[in-house]
Amino acid sequence: MTKKEEKAIQVTDQEVVEHEGLERTRERQCFVPKTDIYETDEMIVLVADVPGVDRDAVDITLDKNVLSIDAFNSSEEHEGYSVTYSEYVPGDYHRKFRLTKEIDPEKIEAVVADGVLELRMPKSEGARIKKIPIKAG
């Protein structure tokens, strides 16, 4: 049915496995979003792919240094149509990260645009790296 020409990008969804016998109440499948995390001198930035998620359908909580991301998919079924070929399942996203104490929880900013969640987490003043100039003696 399809032919591929370039294989520069590949995506496979990984489903969330719940531990401790916990189960989700929502029927939709839940996936682990692909995430990049990088650090600059001032902040730690987290970028996650959450295709199909509206900007106001994301819950971010920080509880004792555990950052949880929950993103709910808002895409709907097409009425009057049936699925004839399927490579992805529109699902929700869930992922948890343990943060170090150097993040200032009050200053975390989150932006969702074009199916990508970006979290900017500024470091607290004390955690920023200070360069100490070495004077020639």
């Binding site: 049915m1 399809t2 032919k3 591929k4 020409e5 370039e6 294989k7 520069a8 990008i9 590949q10 995506v11 496979t12 969804d13 692909k34 995430t35 990049d36 995390i37 990088y38 650090e39 600059t40 001198d41 730690i44 970028v47 792919d49 959450v50 295709p51 199909g52 998620v53 509206d54 808002s74 895409s75 097409h78 009057g80 149509y81 049936s82 699925v83 004839t84 070929y85 399927s86 490579e87 992805y88 399942v89 074009d114 199916g115 990508v116």
Partner: protein, 145 residues
């Protein structure tokens, strides 16, 4: 048919078993998910004379998506650009990928390229296509003599 009757009955039984197994493995169509054959992952929805193709394209600018439609195929191409970061950036993890992509999809029926519509929302590209007039099935009236 003649040959079949001469088969030892054990083969016939195996045949039957195989058919039953196949039926057990059958998943209702539409529930079955194929692993993506390329980027982006797509879903195809059809009705009698319409077609919707959705593709997961998170983090891609709508201007960076190229769509080419012919009567029976659709080519999706574009690029996911990586943000330019300074040298002082340290990566903790990098799971998302970047780069150019091209994918051609053979459509299940002929479409009218002029009636194609595409919407990009929340990282999902949705292309609506309409079946071409010439390709629409025709009803043949059966006359009584």
């Amino acid at each position: 048919m003649y040959r079949r009757f001469r088969m030892p009955s054990v083969w016939r039984e195996l045949d039957q078993l195989q058919r039953e197994m196949n039926r057990l493995m059958e998943v209702p169509f539409g529930m079955r998910s194929f692993s993506p054959l390329g980027f982006p992952a797509i879903n195809i929805w059809t009705s009698e004379d319409k077609l919707i193709i959705t593709a997961e394209l998170p983090g891609i600018n709508a201007d960076d998506i190229d769509l080419n439609i012919t009567a029976d195929s659709l080519t999706l191409s574009g690029e996911r650009k990586q943000e330019q970061m300074g040298d002082e950036v340290k990566y903790h993890r990098q799971e998302r990928s970047y780069g150019k992509f091209t994918r051609t999809i053979q459509l299940p029926f002929m479409v009218d390229p002029d009636k194609a519509q595409a919407v990009f929302k929340n990282g999902i590209l949705e292309i609506s296509l309409v079946r071409a007039e010439v390709d629409k099935p025709k009803k043949i009236a059966v006359k009584a003599r």
